[in-house]
Symmetry: C2
Subunit: 246 residues, 2 copies
């Protein structure tokens, strides 16, 4: 047996999230179905860097699995492409050491969140951007971003449905916003992220952008250590798991 590491892209629109669950169709299920077919019915278990919620997309999800098939790493991509639906794509495949672990070995992640800020919708990007009609104050949101960067206890930005029992201290290396025409891209790079953390950060930043909160409020929100102190959770369809570092 040897271990393969793959970078996977998916359009999360029609999936009930990444992880296999009793009700609903998931990305993991599609990956395992394709691999099981390739292994002539022997079940292959896929391990990912982490789950993503229903409607959330990925540009750079990372998975690993073990196989006894002798296929050159460069051919795995093509073999999987022919088995997977058009909204899931394996962008990269390589053989790794047998002790590589897609979840435990991560050293950081990057998420991006896309907002379409215009009176008019962009119906062609409707599943990939969160449409906000009201003009947003970009500079205020950028100021607030600076208060997110660094090492903090992010309890205020963690859904109460989390599994995390231990520390909620995480380090955010970058929290920034780029504007291209009517599209805003929120970029978050960090050591790790709590459940719904990016969507709660974005939801809170958007309240700053709408003038409902001041940029400097972020300090008090973090210090509160209470989910109630932060803003609404932004909807899933603007969110992309962009990159996973090892």
């Amino acid at each position: 047996m040897h271990r393969l590491k793959c970078t996977v892209q998916y359009d999360g629109t029609r999936y009930a999230g990444y992880q296999v669950q009793p009700n609903g169709h998931t990305v993991q299920e599609e990956l395992e179905k394709a691999l099981t077919k390739m292994h002539k019915g022997r079940r292959v278990k896929v391990t990912a860097s982490g789950r993503t919620d229903s409607g959330v997309h990925a540009r750079g999800q990372v998975i690993h699995f073990d196989t006894d098939l002798h296929i050159p790493a460069s051919n795995w991509k093509r073999a999987l492409a022919s088995m997977l639906p058009p909204d899931i794509h394996v962008a990269h495949a390589e053989q790794v050491d047998n002790d590589f672990h897609a979840r435990y070995d991560t050293t950081g992640k990057e998420y991006r969140y896309f907002v379409w800020n215009s009176q008019e919708p962009d119906i062609f990007r409707r599943n990939f951007t969160y449409h906000i009609k009201m003009p947003l104050q970009l500079e205020a949101m950028k100021t607030a971003c600076r208060l997110i960067e660094g090492e903090h206890d992010f309890t205020s930005f963690c859904s109460s449905r989390t599994d995390v029992k231990g520390s909620k201290v995480r380090t955010i290396h970058q929290a920034s916003i780029e504007k291209n025409g009517d599209e805003l891209t929120f970029v978050f790079k960090g050591s790790g992220f709590l459940y719904n953390m990016v969507r709660i950060l974005v939801g809170t930043l958007l309240e700053v952008g709408r003038g409902e909160r001041k940029p400097e409020d972020l300090k008090a929100i973090i210090e509160a250590g209470n989910r109630e102190a932060a803003g609404k959770t932004a909807p899933p369809h603007g969110l992309f798991l962009w990159k996973v570092d090892y």
Copy 2:
């Protein structure tokens, strides 16, 4: 009664084309359903600049309909938005003279066709671009474009399933290709277009881009006056009705 002219955008992915037909769900049907609801059940007929095929999109389809409702033109957009599905959007609405006709008064149209030319797919644009892995010769296709421009009998670029009984002479004011990264945008502006004309033009240009035909072959293809002389019809999902002129 007064007449309204609207500019309509749609993602054609889940429709059996624009025009109402016995089998399948169409854009016209959605528009008429929304308008009929607004008119308390009285059926409203919508007339478009022309039909689009299954899977073809529109950025600037134009329609007209007659109404006795006294709603300011600026409010029609909002009223229709609340009645239409998220893949159809009314971008503009205005009251016009009662003799305006969305189909008969057109003076020209613009279509765009998007090609994603890369080894890797872009799954997030898969419904809006035609993915071609083989590298295309851009300059050869641009040279061929120049032979398309002007007034010609476009019989070779007209599907045999056309309704057109009269002349197939049309004037193409612009046939050009722009490259942005891995995406090619084919732009066609003309006095009018025959059935499947843009998709057959693109299919033929792509054969030039692949080196299967020479750019100068376009001259003989046009002169042949025979659909068999031209290339394959490119798939519908890369095509957008971009703008209609009056």
